[in-house]
Symmetry: C2
Subunit: 243 residues, 2 copies
Amino acid sequence: MPPTAVNHPLICKLEHSAALSQVERSALEALTLSRRPVSARHDIAVHDNTDRVYLVMSGIAGRYKTLRQGNRRIVSFAVPGDLCRMHICGPSTRDMRLGALTHCTVVDIPRTRLTELIETHPGIAHVMRWLAMMELNRAREWLVNDSRPADRRLAHHFCELLVCLQVVGLANENSFELAISQADLADAMGISQVHINRVLQGLRAGDLIVWSKSALTIPDVERLQAFAEFDPGYLDLRPAKAA
Amino acid sequence: MPPTAVNHPLICKLEHSAALSQVERSALEALTLSRRPVSARHDIAVHDNTDRVYLVMSGIAGRYKTLRQGNRRIVSFAVPGDLCRMHICGPSTRDMRLGALTHCTVVDIPRTRLTELIETHPGIAHVMRWLAMMELNRAREWLVNDSRPADRRLAHHFCELLVCLQVVGLANENSFELAISQADLADAMGISQVHINRVLQGLRAGDLIVWSKSALTIPDVERLQAFAEFDPGYLDLRPAKAA
DNA sequence: CGATGGCTTGAGAACACTCAATTGCTGTGG
DNA sequence: CCACAGCAATTGAGTGTTCTCAAGCCATCG
């Protein structure tokens, strides 16, 4: 197999939906040559610039909005392979921001070039539709998750991260690197920093997770999934990559 | 102007994104001839049937999921003109349900016929992409909303409902019919029935809303929007319908 | 008249918040 | 090597929100 499919998180992820032709893979790869570092706690997207799409190549970013009261709500994580600001029209989402939670490497993609690719390559158009749908499923799953008690909610996030990082080869069977802060996690769950600390301690005490030195390990994945009521179906990933 | 555009909620809503040709309007209309009543508290969608899309013509429905613990979380409302179960692939969303909150009239649309329309009419394809994007924006806005205190959160839902119903001509400047129960509202907000009752009393006491006899009136729309921190930008509706 | 479904109220417990202080780690400059 | 600043994690204490359980009320409908 070509090394590009393995190393390139976007292609890696998209091919969990449907296989791409070699031409399509190359076209996508050509889009993502020039990379740019973004340090933690800095915004990736220029606020009112809507003619660019951003691809995360490494690190973890977050789509978020800051409320008048001052608290920030992260509405989704963007891990390597995730395209951001795809779905924008007019001045609509001008107050939804995109920031790096850890140090990130990103690619700026002109929206027009991506549109061209979609119009000329049916395979790319197909996987992009799949992407939009999966993002919607994911957002609604986060809403459902918001109704769960905090400990199960947090567990659910960990389960989702595990699967999403496995897709791009950044997690093994039961662990992955997670360098974000507790404050970021709190903002993603909609609870306070003090409280997430105590919830984390609860999960640790129950041997559901081990999180030290930026490495998160899940001793018993099935047990954590059962605890979180996690069912990966909504991510709609094919069981395995059939080269 | 033709009466169909005024009376048909789906066309009415889609034309807030971009104008459709007369041929496209007729094609959509032809899809939605046979209507079916669904009484309150009954599911609209057959659980594991994924080859149909549902269009709400009257009443209010909700997309929801029931958690193990027994509580139900509504992740979005479907008002007249809303297409449901558009975005499904594989067995993914098998546990996300679609139920009528009030008495509803719905149209069952074979997914294949809608796909045909999208493939043959570029205008329809365009507005469908807009629709998917708006649903994602909306879901993320609900997530942000979940971080607000309960009274502001409820106010935000009312503001959104007002705009969405105005789009299809089911709300006037500051009021609309709202026949759903407090329990439904509670499930949409992720709080208990007892609590929503008290939050409602708070909004009523502050003269922010009047809700009696299934009619919701907002005495001062700007004041409620300010209270809820509501900005309709995420719905991406054009200011007015230009015939 | 009784049944039903929805709304309202009370009371105590559980959960999550804020404020504030402490600890530990890490990189930097002297 | 130490002092220091900055950031993240932790802990305590008191407060406020939201929950559950339970009962009562009020329409509507047969």
